[in-house]
């Protein structure tokens, strides 16, 4: 079943057509992505899977506007991203994409609140509005009482929540998570996946890049990559939707 054909309600947020990414290593050309076509719609919950070398990191970097494809077309909300300059990509990342990384990637010397505010600083939001919005994002991930803690004063799960709050704070079109549970124990990992679940139910569009079946099971749609091609793109009939809210968060659609 081709979801790209099936899902016709509205325009896609992400419209990738026949993209390829070729790196030159010495005299050899490495085809990280050969030919991928992909549409992602609002409120999708997508898991991108694949072994290392399958091109999933490259695909994630391109979707996340950290990189541009060598060939093909990438439309993000009808904007042609494939031809954009560094600065334009930075502003797309700032406004439209919320990143969640395996290693959290928080600024070690700044408080949680400052970390969450960071994208708003680059968006040119004023101090008081920044504080309000960062505070609200911290409440949404259940960490309202940890705003003044620095990352090293927080547990792994809490750090990832701060990172998620940072991803949410600009109200992006997609949340892009790269192995979000990779550095967490299974219980904490489950909590984070529950949080994503709630965010999804609240209307967010989520893309999770993972090699773990456990994590992918939470998604509505699973894409499997191999050798730079999509091997499988299917609806997840066994989507795991827990109501087990071990989190105390109240996630609202932002």
């Amino acid at each position: 079943m081709d979801l790209n054909e099936e899902n016709k309600n509205g325009k896609p947020i992400i419209d990738i057509e026949h993209i390829a990414k070729i790196y030159q290593m010495g005299s050899e050309f490495v085809h990280a992505i050969r030919d991928i076509t992909l549409k992602i719609y609002k409120n999708d919950y997508l898991a991108i899977m694949g072994p290392s070398g399958s091109g999933k990191s490259t695909l994630m970097n391109i979707i996340g506007c950290l990189d541009t494809p060598t060939k093909g077309k990438y439309l993000f909300k009808d904007m042609d991203v494939s031809e954009m300059t560094d600065n334009d990509l930075a502003s797309i990342r700032n406004k439209e994409i919320g990143f969640v990384f395996q290693t959290f990637n928080l600024l070690a010397r700044s408080s949680s609140l400052k970390n969450v505010e960071l994208p708003l600083i680059y968006a040119g939001v004023g101090k008081s509005e920044r504080d309000d919005r960062a505070m609200k994002a911290m409440e949404n991930v259940g960490l309202a009482d940890r705003v003044n803690h620095k990352p090293n004063e927080l547990s792994g799960g809490q750090r990832q929540r701060v990172a998620i709050a940072r991803a949410l704070v600009t109200e992006p079109s997609i949340i892009l998570a790269d192995e979000p549970t990779g550095n967490l124990d299974s219980k904490t990992g489950l909590e984070i996946m529950n949080l994503f679940n709630e965010l999804w139910k609240a209307g967010n569009t989520i893309i999770v890049v993972t090699h773990e079946e456990e994590v992918a099971r939470f998604a509505k749609r699973i894409i499997k990559l191999r050798d730079g091609l999509i091997e499988n793109d299917s609806f997840n009939h066994h989507q795991r939707i827990t109501n087990d809210t071990s989190t105390t968060s109240s996630v609202t659609n932002q």
Binding site: N61, L66, R93
Partner: protein, 409 residues
């Protein structure tokens, strides 16, 4: 952009890499210290000297055997010149028409003054003056009286003494009317000089003044016959004519042939001030120049620190770029950080420079002038230093690829 954040970041890097940052900032501080120290000291000296000169008035001019400020190599030429004698003084007094007065003083260093059982250290300046000296040099009398024309003409054994002598020899006694001894000659104290502190490190209170005639008779050695002549023109308009007249008289008294050049120096207040200013100006530019050299070396240190900082914070740069920082924001952040570092070092240097010049100023007994222009110069230089030497590291940071930066361990 968030300047506050960048400044905080700069202070953080000072805190976290104390030694490394301290050493670099130290070199900036030393550079700024040299600029501020030299500038402040020179400004203070200038202002003290200029106010001294101003007190003498614009109408005055001076005749000396050799230049007051001579930095060249022509001292041999000057050494052969004949001294300016009492005869010359008398001739000038007789011949000059465009002047209020002509006065002269002679000078002998390292004398001991005795009073009863007490004596001073052998460091007292002895001056021989005529009756016009006090008014001409703006020397005040607090007690007693200055010399009169009769005192000079009749060669009276009178002395006017400075405050240091009063303190040493007459701790609780009124010195007026007491007899002091200099090299076995007795003098009656008739006046006490106004306390003046020091001019250019030369204490003005540690001196004894006696009539010029008396001075020339007993104390002047060969070169101390040499008089310093001060002449006051009737007004500023006649200054040039009065100088010409004085030069003519000097030449005829000293039998100079028309083709011979003057074997004496004529200076006005203005020309002295100018010479002095060019000398001190040279000092302050020398200070500023050495400071600049130190600062350029410091700039290389700043660049080094910033390069290390960019390297260490590659991941941070990656994070900032991932969440939407454009190149120029990263560029600004690191340049502002570099400027802040330079300003911290500069601030320390300014404080050190002011403290040092205040210290030397107090040794030399001059009032410290806050050298605004040098402080501003230092701040501007530190800013430029931050921009110039922060630019390359900041540019390196700004052009990092976000993917590589995020992956950096």
């Amino acid at each position: 952009m968030n300047i506050g954040e960048s400044i905080t970041q700069a202070f953080d890097s000072v805190r976290m890499n104390k030694l490394r940052t301290f050493l670099t900032l130290l070199s900036i501080s030393i550079g700024v210290f040299a600029i501020i120290g030299a500038g402040s000291l020179v400004d203070s000296i200038n202002s003290s000297v200029f106010s001294e000169m101003e007190a003498l008035g614009r109408n005055s001019f001076f005749i000396y055997r050799v230049p007051v400020l001579e930095m060249g190599h022509s001292w041999r030429k000057y050494a052969k010149r004949k001294p300016i004698t009492y005869t010359v003084l008398k001739e000038l007094k007789k011949e000059l028409t465009l002047v209020d007065f002509v006065t002269a003083h002679g000078f002998s260093m390292a004398n001991t003054i005795e009073y009863g059982e007490n004596e001073t250290d052998p460091d007292v300046n002895l001056m021989g003056v005529d009756e016009n000296f006090f008014a001409a040099q703006n020397v005040g009398i607090t007690k007693g009286r200055p010399f009169t024309a009769e005192d000079i003409d009749f060669n009276r054994n009178f002395a006017v003494i400075g405050n240091d002598i009063v303190v040493k020899l007459f701790p609780n006694i009124d010195p007026i009317g007491k007899r002091i001894k200099i090299k076995n000659h007795s003098y009656t104290v008739i006046g006490v000089l106004e306390t003046k502190g020091a001019v250019l490190g030369e204490p003005q209170d540690n001196r004894v003044i006696i009539p010029l005639t008396e001075f020339l008779r007993y104390y002047a050695s060969m070169w101390e016959y040499d008089l310093f002549i001060t002449i006051k023109a009737v007004d500023y308009e006649s200054l040039d004519d009065a100088i010409d007249e004085a030069i003519g008289t000097m030449r005829s008294v000293r039998n100079l042939k028309p083709w011979q050049e003057n074997d004496f120096e004529v200076e006005t207040n203005e020309s002295l001030t100018e010479q002095f200013a060019s000398f001190t100006g040279f000092l302050s530019y020398f200070g500023a120049f050495s400071g600049l050299i130190a600062l350029i070396a410091a700039g290389v240190g700043i660049m080094n620190i910033m390069l290390v900082s960019v390297k260490e914070r590659t991941r941070e740069i990656g994070i900032r770029k991932a969440v939407g920082a454009k190149r120029r924001w990263i560029l600004y952040q690191f340049i502002i950080e570099a400027i802040t570092l330079c300003q911290i070092g500069g601030f320390i240097g300014i404080v050190m420079g002011l403290v040092a010049s205040a210290f030397f100023g107090s040794l030399m007994n001059i009032n410290l002038i806050l050298p605004y222009s040098w402080v501003i110069f230092s701040i501007v230089i530190c800013t430029l230093l931050g921009i110039i030497f922060g630019a390359y590291p900041a540019w390196k940071a700004a052009k990092l690829d976000p993917i590589d930066a995020l992956r950096y361990e």
